[in-house]
C-alpha cells in the first residue's frame, strides 16, 4: 500500500495521518498541493485535516480546486482509493468527488471531543477490519461538520448504502445528543458511488496509539493497508 498525503497551505494533520498509515504498514509520501501528479504507484490519496487556505471563502473551497486535486480526481476516476478526513472531507465535497456539503455546526460552536461512531458497513476497502454495527471511539474537532445534502441526494446516498459512519452514543444508538454538529441522518462519513472514495469528519488518526487515549482508529488504516 502506497499512500500519498496531499498537503495544502494550512493543512495540519498530515503528520498524524502519515504516522497512522505507516503504523499499519503503508508507505507514505507527502505531495504538495501545487503538484500536478501523484507519485507513480499511489494506491491511496489522503486529504488530511486542518484549515486549508485558512478556510477562506468556504471550508475546502479553494483546496478543492488546487492542481493536486486534478490528480486526485483522475486517481479516483481510475478507481484509486481516496480518503478525506475532516478538512479533507470538506475538500472532497467541494471538489465534487463526494455529494453534499459540510455546513456550520448547528450549535455554532467548534466542537472538540471524543465521539462514538457506528460503523455502517464492514465490507469496504476502508472498514474491513471492523464489524458491521461496531461502535468505535474516536475524536471530532471541527466547526463545520454539519453534513447537508438535498433530499433527493440524501435518499440516493442512503438507498445505495453509502453512509460509512454515523454519530451515535456509546451503545450504538443514534441520538440527537450524539449528533452534536446537526448532520442530516447523523452522517459522519460518506462513500462515493464507486465506494473508492471516503470522506469523514471524525479523526481516526488520533486514536491509533494506546498512549494517547485509544486505538479504535487503527481499524481504518489496517483495513486500507491490508
Amino acid at each position: 500500500m502506497h499512500a500519498a498525503v496531499v498537503v495544502f497551505p494550512g493543512s495540519n494533520r498530515e503528520s498524524d495521518v502519515a504516522r497512522a498509515l505507516r503504523r499499519s504498514g503503508a508507505r507514505v509520501s507527502l505531495v504538495w498541493h501545487a503538484d500536478h501528479d501523484l507519485p507513480a504507484g499511489t494506491d491511496l490519496a489522503v486529504l488530511p485535516g486542518g484549515f486549508s487556505y485558512g478556510d477562506y471563502l468556504r471550508c475546502g473551497a479553494i483546496a478543492g480546486r488546487a492542481a493536486a486535486m486534478d490528480a486526485v480526481r483522475a486517481h479516483a476516476a481510475r478507481g484509486g482509493l481516496v480518503l478525506g478526513i475532516c478538512n479533507g472531507f470538506q475538500i472532497l465535497c467541494e471538489s465534487g468527488l463526494l455529494p453534499g456539503v459540510l455546513m456550520r455546526n448547528v450549535n455554532r460552536r467548534f466542537i472538540c471531543h471524543r465521539q462514538t461512531l457506528r460503523v455502517e458497513r464492514a465490507d469496504t476497502r476502508f472498514t474491513s477490519a471492523y464489524r458491521q454495527g461496531q461502535v468505535i471511539d474516536v475524536c471530532v474537532a471541527h466547526g463545520e461538520g454539519n453534513y447537508f445534502a438535498d433530499a433527493e441526494t440524501l435518499a440516493r446516498i442512503e438507498g445505495e448504502g453509502r453512509v460509512a459512519f454515523r454519530y451515535c452514543d456509546a451503545a450504538g444508538t443514534i441520538t440527537v445528543e450524539a449528533n452534536r454538529n446537526g448532520s442530516l441522518n447523523a452522517i459522519a462519513g460518506v462513500y462515493a458511488e464507486g465506494g473508492n472514495v471516503l470522506g469523514m469528519m471524525p479523526h481516526p488518526e488520533n486514536f491509533v496509539d494506546g498512549l494517547i487515549g485509544g486505538t479504535d482508529g487503527r481499524g481504518l488504516f489496517d483495513s486500507l493497508a491490508a
Binding site: 471563502l57 479553494i62 480546486r65 465535497c93 467541494e94 456539503v101 455546513m103 456550520r104 448547528v106 447537508f148
Partner: protein
Amino acid sequence: MESWSGIGPAFAGEAPDRRFDRPASFLLETTDPGLCNDAAGSILVPPMRETRSLMKARIIVTLKTGVLDPQGKAIEAALKSLGIEGIDSVRQGKVFDLDVSASDASAAEAMLRTACEKLLANTVVEKYAIEIL
C-alpha cells in the same frame, strides 16, 4: 466570513468609495500587428480594434431558502439582545466586489456566472446574484 445585510443603507456612514466616481466604462484599444502588415511591412488591412469595457460588478451569495443558517440565527439573537426591535429574521451572506473587463455587460455577466458556478458559490446550499454596476 463577511457580514452583509443589504446594499445602500447598510453601508451608510462609510467614507464614499472614490473608485465608483469615474465613468462606469471606457474603451481600451488593442491592435493585433499580425493582421496589419505583410512581409514588406505595408498595411494590408486597417488595424483590428477590440474594444473591452472596464466594469464594476457585485456578486451577492446567500444561502438558499430553507437551508439552516446558524450564523444568521446568532446575529438575529444578538440584535434582539441589543434591544433593536422589529427584525424578524436574519440571513447572512457574502458580497464580492469585482473589477472586470469584457466586451459588454452580457459577456461580463456570462463570465461571472461561470465564476459563481465554479468557485464563488456552492450551489448545493447557496444562490448568487450578479449585478453589473
